[in-house]
């Protein structure tokens, strides 16, 4: 009897040890293709498997809704017909895009589709420098004033077309993080084509470590950020570009000039709890350059933090990231 009691205590202790080890290791991951890139999702904890499946479904649903290239998407139909009765997701996202357009003084713009097309930055097109005439014509169609939102009715001016490539992944990442929270997942890592989002802390309770790619060498890093519950998004001229007559032309188009942005930056990384804002601002700040971005930061330091790499390879970080950023390189701090 005594033996049985001791045995059962020991058995339960071993079982508990076993289960805690199992639970710690309980991990679900998925890697799949959507939004013209690779999505990689890892979640930890008991509910992780169903949460990952739900997230994958949600991302694929949003891809079908927001893709510029998918003929059945709302955005494709809007670009073709210049008028649609849009779903709640599309309306929400377009409204946010308009807000970011205002916030960045037009640097973040979703009406760049005709310009991006002229430069050939869509799959199936040849990348090339367009004629000045083509650029001038495309520039006439650019700007948020060409979008009209009236409840669910969205209309575009003639020849205006939208591309949500600079914001859709951020929106999908926010939705994914939300699904994880609803499913009780307190530890997860999401990378939507290099847009990183961390949920909670690492399974052992420590901060997630997110490295920022060195614009000059993909295998190196500019530094790392120790973060939890936040999105980390980088826009860089190194991500997509082509060379013509010895010049390098990248994919982040400045709607002032119609040419790839020449703002003195190689990359901008935005850190924010708001995934959609992080995605949009990484492009917006890249176009704005260091000086204008610093001014925007001083008024909005509660919204986001940022890491800049300039053409001269100088690194600047905003002062709200001082305790989070570490690097082997020298860096300057932008005071708010």
């Amino acid at each position: 009897m005594n033996f049985m009691r001791k045995f059962s205590i020991l058995f339960m202790t071993v079982a508990v040890l076993f289960c805690s080890a199992c639970d710690f290791d309980s991990k679900a991951d998925s890697e799949f293709f959507a939004m013209d890139t690779i999505m990689s999702i890892t979640a930890y904890g008991s509910n992780s498997q169903s949460a990952v499946s739900a997230a994958e479904n949600e991302i694929n649903r949003l891809d079908k809704l927001l893709s510029v290239q998918n003929e059945n998407s709302e955005i494709f139909k809007l670009n073709r017909d210049k008028s649609i009765n849009a779903s709640a997701d599309t309306v929400t996202l377009l409204k946010r895009a308009m807000n970011f357009y205002t916030l960045t003084d037009g640097a973040f713009d979703i009406t760049t589709e005709p310009l991006t097309r002229a430069w050939g930055f869509y799959s199936g097109l040849e990348k090339r420098v367009p004629s000045q005439n083509e650029i001038d014509n495309a520039l006439k169609t650019v700007g948020a004033e060409h979008i009209n939102i009236d409840n669910k009715n969205i209309t575009l001016d003639e020849n205006t077309s939208l591309d949500l490539g600079g914001i859709a992944k951020g929106y999908a990442s926010a939705k994914t993080a939300q699904i994880f929270k609803e499913n009780g997942v307190s530890s997860a890592l999401i990378s939507l084509g290099g847009n990183v989002r961390v949920v909670g802390s690492k399974p052992d309770g420590s901060d997630w470590s997110v490295a920022i790619t060195d614009p000059d060498d993909n295998s190196k890093q500019v530094g790392t950020l120790a973060v939890r519950d936040t999105a980390v998004v980088t826009s860089g001229s190194y991500q997509r570009y082509f060379e013509e007559n010895g010049h390098i032309y990248h994919h982040i188009i400045d709607t002032e000039t119609g040419y790839p942005a020449q703002s003195g930056l190689k990359s901008v990384t935005v850190v924010s709890e708001d995934d959609t804002l992080a995605d949009a601002l990484s492009t917006g700040l890249f176009v704005m350059g260091l000086e204008k971005s610093s001014k925007l930061y001083s008024k909005n330091s509660a919204l986001f933090g940022a890491v800049f790499v300039t053409d001269k390879n100088e690194i600047y970080i905003t002062d709200n990231l001082e305790n989070r950023f570490s690097s082997q390189h020298k860096f300057e701090v932008i005071e708010r």
């Binding site: 990378s191 990183v196 997630w208 997110v210 980088t234 991500q239 990384t269």
Partner: protein, 126 residues
Amino acid sequence: MKTRTWIIILSSAVIVCAVLWMFILNSSSPSKIVGIYQDGSLVEKIDLNSVTDEREITLNGKFGKNIIFISHGHIEMKSAECPDKICVKHGALEIGGTPIVCLPNKVVIQFEETPYGADAKTGAAE
């Protein structure tokens, strides 16, 4: 009888702990284990350090063949029938570098651990 039972129980507990411990240690040590994925599912896992003979793996995708070349400590996309050839131009898979990706044929070659000492890297995959 009682003592013997205790010895058996305790030693099996020790063995269980040791196995778990080794499993945890093993999974967190840096390695050169590479995963080859097609359309999200694992095709093959290879420890590049234990490769002795050179070999090739051929995958068939929507846009034709991808031929992967493997030798000791080395893996690359040798050739591909995809339209953009970005996967071939990537060159060998480097520690800390970006994965080799063929978007048209949905092939990914990557390290199973993140050897750059961080959990994730931004802006890398585009």
